[in-house]
Symmetry: C2
Subunit: 336 residues, 2 copies
Amino acid sequence: MVTIADVAKHAGVSPSTVSYVLSGKRSISEQTRSRVEESISALGYHPHAGARSLASSRANVIALVLPLRTDMHVPILMQFATSVVTAAREHDHDVLLLTNDEGPDGLRRVARSALVDAVIVMDIELNDSRVPVLREVGLPAVLIGFPADPAGLTCVDWDFVAAAARCVDHLADLGHREIAFIGPPSAVFARGTGFAQRTTSGFESAVARRGVRATVRPCDPSHSAVRDTVKRLFDDHPALTGLIVHNEAAVAPLLETLRGLGRHVPQHVSVVAMCPEDLAGQVSPRLTAVPIPAEEIGRRAVELLMGKLERAAGVPPATLIAPHLLPGESTAAPPA
Amino acid sequence: MVTIADVAKHAGVSPSTVSYVLSGKRSISEQTRSRVEESISALGYHPHAGARSLASSRANVIALVLPLRTDMHVPILMQFATSVVTAAREHDHDVLLLTNDEGPDGLRRVARSALVDAVIVMDIELNDSRVPVLREVGLPAVLIGFPADPAGLTCVDWDFVAAAARCVDHLADLGHREIAFIGPPSAVFARGTGFAQRTTSGFESAVARRGVRATVRPCDPSHSAVRDTVKRLFDDHPALTGLIVHNEAAVAPLLETLRGLGRHVPQHVSVVAMCPEDLAGQVSPRLTAVPIPAEEIGRRAVELLMGKLERAAGVPPATLIAPHLLPGESTAAPPA
DNA sequence: CAGGGAAGTCGAAGCGCTTCGACTATCCGG
DNA sequence: CCGGATAGTCGAAGCGCTTCGACTTCCCTG
């Protein structure tokens, strides 16, 4: 193994000088710096992570806690994870993967053993058991999602309220007067996931503001459940012309059902989806969507975390990522 | 921070004794052991990971390299990842997540910096650029998938040859005489992914063995591509009664297309899927499937890796996970 | 031209742990 | 009753790195 002492010898300087070249914490003459850098690449030197962590009490590793049992759409989870890894690497950090089956103890363990410097916790529930642990161990953390009491925590999430409102506005602007919201399964609401409730409330205040008649329906993603929900919706509300769907798995069955019912999109009924951009593009017709910016949320979470690690102060406690509408071919003015 | 010295003082022993209690590398009297263990939990002691790694040159961390740009089905990837994390934790190891955008250099970095002890590399291509790096740094590794030259490496994968054959046998046993194989997009073949070719060859030797007429078609997962492929298939082969699909994303469009064509499953045509178990169960009718055992592959990969870390020898170079057939409602005898 | 600060470098002291050799006590067979 | 295992414990030497204080130049300012 190549050590810092080997590099120092090779470059004719002391080990501490090599360390300062690497960290930039003291000024180094241009001449020395380049000599050291040459030695480093000549010898293929990589600092020993453990030694570094021991001496500096900084591991340069962050933990990412993924939900295991999840009602979340898996590809979104994956997008989060990869964007977190990519962003972390840009800040010279690595990512340790933690799942929830170790429970809150996993957090305690990695924090106390100094395996990681900080943590990103995904899929925060309103009453999340991991939050007290976070406060207890004092580990710098960024939460994706908001718990019931976010005091003292740093949270980031998509602005679900604004996203739902954006969907309503789009349909109302086109002239729709009666619309419906097809949401996640009722289990998601029951579990106390904040985003589902925020989406619903965003939807409801927007329809009130726009004076549009509206219905909200939770929906299981199975083909038959979607078919039942949609049929019932049209039976109860014959004047319905606009649908907002916030349930990735229900998107394809929904379109198929509408096709089966002979209701053409967008001629008879308009559909707006809150779903990943690629899903919206894959189906036919291409959906008008307010896409969930998983990549941006992951990146922002990392940046907030790096801010906490470096400056400790001045990091905003709440960050809401603004939604935007991606026009597709699934929305149009309602039939006259 | 609580150190081993604190624990030692609290228990009235030397630090080395505490270390031996923890590692079990020397015998300790029952009395001393329990006193030390009490002190550990009383103080909430967790060994410092960096110090441990420095002193023992074992980080107790393994790296998991996920494909970034991937034609793989994302939920499967996720199942792999979580099963790797779970299995690793059972062996007292953590998992560092690496994506491919850092390229082979990422492997070199984590190996040389002793950040990880070993690595699991997923989605191995026939001519994978990461394989030479693995050989170069001498990092214990388990590959999921097989490169063209697996000499000296430890690989594990599903037995795609047997899986395809199992599908053929099932249809042939039911009496089907003309079947077709709907595979991944041709891009996957072009990329040199071993599993696609092994599946095809498993299919072809099985149909030869069973004397069944057969066609192989790669297929993009888009709705229209599936429709075109299926239509063409039936035009060219009017006697076709059995379909094997090895393309997760194409499953739903395929069923919808068949429904659209008025070909009932399984009365007119039988369908067998090589796909995750949950996907097979979600669609209607429930598919007869040869499910990809992602969880088992991940677990086996970890176990092989632990074997290499502990014993260094006696680890089998190639492990093939046997397929099994999961009966559903999508297969039956062909129409008379 | 003296004095002070900045720039550049070094030596040494740890960071918290593992592990090796050494030491004592105990027990066994001849 | 003695020599030699065996069990149980300790002290000390690092593992490779960062960082602090100290030292030497050199340059600028009054």
